[in-house]
Amino acid sequence: MGPGNKLVELISGKRFRKGWTALNIAFFLLFVIIPTVYILSYAITDWSEIQEHVLSDPATMDLIIGSIIVAFEIATIVTIIDFVAGLPLAWMMARKDFRGKQFLDTLIDMPLAVPTAALGFSAAIFWAVTPNPPPFSLATISSPMILIILLHVVFSYPYMVRSLTAILGGIDETYETAGRTLGASRLTAVRTITLPLFRAGLVTGAILCFARSLSETGGTIIALATLYGRRMVEGDFHTGPSLIGFWKDASVSDPTLIPALSFVSILLIILALVLLLVLKIVIMRVRLPLRKVWPSPEKLLSRGLFPKIKDTSAIIFLIVIVLIPSFFIFTYVLTANPVQADWSPFIDALLTSFLVATIVTLIDLVMGIPMALYIVKNKTGRLSQMLDVLVNVPLIVPTAALGFSLGLFWSNFDPNASFPLLLIILAHVAFTYPLVVRNVVGAVEGIDPAFEETARTLGAKPIQSFRRVLFPMIKGSILAGAIMAFTRSLGETGATLAVVANANTAPVYIVELVNEQSYYLAAMACIILIIISYVFMLLLRRFTREEVV
């Protein structure tokens, strides 16, 4: 028996398997969940401070409550816009065959390749009335609220279209066809048959968008800074996350801000969790008018010009509202005067970002894949169902609040932030880990367990059946998860700033450049970041497409 065989024997042992599972769960709790919600403990330990500095200070309270209301308003509007504009496009992707479908598919994903910091900047200079607007910019929006809504639509739209497409693809089209053979027009069939089946998926899509909008910090801050043409100050328009970012920044010099900072973070986390729960219940409960039919008007809408208008406007929306603002930044290369500058700090920052992203992705993979397998294989177990829900928590917690919470948690162990890089890595693990787990869970759930069972009866040990049978089948999804985690880490600003105020990563550097109004440099840095992310994105698409199922 070779050494390889001994290893297989060892890790196939029941005791080893149990230990390994326990380790994975412990890692998840200790490094992902507890740091994420650690801030909640402040509500208990430092309640007196919160009371003194926040609750009894009407000005601060107004600021906090106002910013949180704005954040929820924005998230709601964004989710509705995403759904209304995303459904027709998702429909086209899931149900129709047309030339250029692959191309459109790539287009939809493109904003995901752009780090949110770059996106915030790009969208702001396209839409906003800025002190010094670049050529071709629309420069029409002066309301910060509308600007942020437009920005959030850009980066949450692809999530909505993606999840709607996936769910639509999963609903057997036969149901709809059956409805039509029974005499229902296309619209009637969709409304009375497909939509009710679709409801659970709708919740997923809505939650993803809502959470994404509610949690986004970096892009929001940068867009606001661009709109104002300066660093943000106390009296500016703030959303919950941007307020956290702003206070976190300011708290370096003014520690009295810490209680207010904690309070707004706690409030955001709790409200996000509660609201998402409510959203889930409301959508599942709401009664759609299923039994009613309006044959003639629905028939009219199913035929002729209407479907064409619907499809065309969906594509126009994609191009004008989503794509152009994402990539508007590229116009800088053509129009602005090159500025001589010292690129070495940016290259340093870029290298740091890469280092962080790589390490984070590796940790995610090593700890996340076993977790995902555990969740799927023990689907009926109470523990695994709980873990399945918990994994989503970091995704819906605002990244700034998350970063702040993580910073507080880890500063217990490293009070002077003497290992800033380590803190950043730990923070990034917390919000990228769910991406890997989610992707792998999705992929494994889609694969008939009979494949692995067959391998077992053919004599393969669990680890062998994973490596030889399951792994090749989900390789694509693992890679997709890895690349999502990587690009997300590469582009994240809010959480990074919240953990380490003077972090030296590429997105943070870009925020600095914007704050200093070095727009040309900021644009160039963004472009470089976009290109790198885009290359990864392409790789992702290639690998996911190669997947054989």
């Binding site: 057997d172 053979t181 005499g183 027009s185 296309r186 089946l197 199913s302």
Partner: protein, 361 residues
């Protein structure tokens, strides 16, 4: 006037030709099955009639009207799906009422129609149950009731029984024919099961590789198939390689590979032609004089035994004997096998070989 007529219909998916130049007329009130192996294009064909697919070329006429471009819901056809496709969020009654609702019937009419058809399939007591609580057979019956309740005269059944257990299938196919005949519907039933096709239909259309091989009543398809493929596909048959010795008005004489000479139906052959003889196992019997064969295996089939023997000519011959006579035969025994001349059909030997001509996949 035929209710449905296909004129030169072809359908291509990229380079794959799913239907090739199909011409078919279906009379009002006929029960037709479209039979063929997987991938022969039978489902594509009824999907084109339903409007789920549009043909690449040709015309689809229903009641004399060209249907090209008419959406599914305006063709007034009933369609029963292979995977049943009951709406999972509606109970049995609501499923059945769906057609009447979207056709805007009044509350009262709706109620009557739905109850009437649920009653027809004997499931009135299950009307409040959801599809997931019904057994496979019940689900398919509800699906049938749902289709019938929409009131169309033309019923398209896409492998309606293939998702069910063998035993349930047998019961349901009698049921299908009974109900549709009582209602006077025109039915187009797609299946890969030759037994099902023979039992339910007035006429079978046999397809292979996107083309119609042959079309006739079940009995003619079984007793006098025009094509070798049909002979093998509809019911089992023994195929023997041979050379024509003589072929007259009364009979043909054919020489097998080992030189033995057998009788078969007359045909327009010349001496020396290479041919294939097809004779069904139930028509082969042990006789005093015939092909010398050795028994290779015996299978119990319930009321009879199927015995497989190898003739000296190396042809494999299956033949059936009544269970009561089973004692007379043992594996390894030599028997002499023959048949009445009329039951042996003769076909020209296909250029690609017998195996290719009758290949099932």
């Amino acid at each position: 006037m035929p209710l449905v007529e296909l004129k030169n219909v072809s359908k291509r998916f990229g380079k794959v030709v799913a239907s090739s130049n199909i011409n078919l007329r279906i009379e009002d009130g006929e029960y037709i099955t479209i039979l063929g192996p997987s991938g022969c294009g039978k489902t594509t064909l009824i999907r084109m009639i339903a409007g789920i697919l549009e043909p690449s070329e040709g015309q689809v006429l229903i009641d004399g009207k060209d249907m090209i471009g008419t959406p599914i819901e305006e063709r007034d056809i009933g369609y029963v799906f292979q995977n049943i496709a009951l709406f999972p969020h509606l109970n049995a009654l609501e499923n059945v009422s769906y057609g009447p609702i979207v056709k805007n019937l009044t509350e009262g009419e709706r109620h009557n129609v739905s109850n009437q058809y649920l009653n027809l399939v004997n499931l009135l007591d299950r009307m409040k149950m959801f599809p997931s609580d019904l057994s496979g057979g019940e689900q398919q019956k509800v699906a049938l009731a749902r289709t019938l309740a929409s009131g169309s005269k033309l019923l398209l059944l896409d492998e309606p029984l293939s998702a069910l257990d063998a035993r349930v299938r047998v019961d349901l196919r009698y049921e299908l024919r009974r109900i549709t005949k009582n209602l006077g519907l025109t039915v187009l039933h797609v299946t890969h099961d030759q037994e099902e096709a023979m039992t339910v239909s007035d006429r079978i259309v046999l397809m292979r590789r996107g083309r119609i091989v042959e079309s006739d009543t079940p009995e003619m398809m079984y007793r006098a198939p025009k094509e070798l493929f049909t002979a093998n596909f509809i019911g089992e048959t023994n195929l023997l390689d041979g050379v024509v010795v003589s072929s007259g008005i009364e009979r043909s004489l054919i020489e097998l590979r080992d030189g033995s000479i057998v009788e078969a139906q007359p045909g327009e052959f010349d001496p020396g032609d290479l041919v294939v003889i097809s004779v069904r196992p139930e028509n082969v019997r042990a006789t005093d004089e015939g092909l010398n064969s050795t028994i290779r295996s015996i299978s119990f089939m319930g009321t009879y035994l199927r015995i497989t023997a190898e003739a000296d000519s190396e042809d494999i011959l299956g033949f059936d004997v009544h269970v009561a006579r089973g004692m007379d035969f043992n594996v390894g025994d030599t028997v002499s096998l023959g048949w009445v001349m009329e039951s042996a059909l003769v076909y020209p030997k296909p250029p690609g070989g017998i195996a290719e001509a009758v290949k099932l996949e």
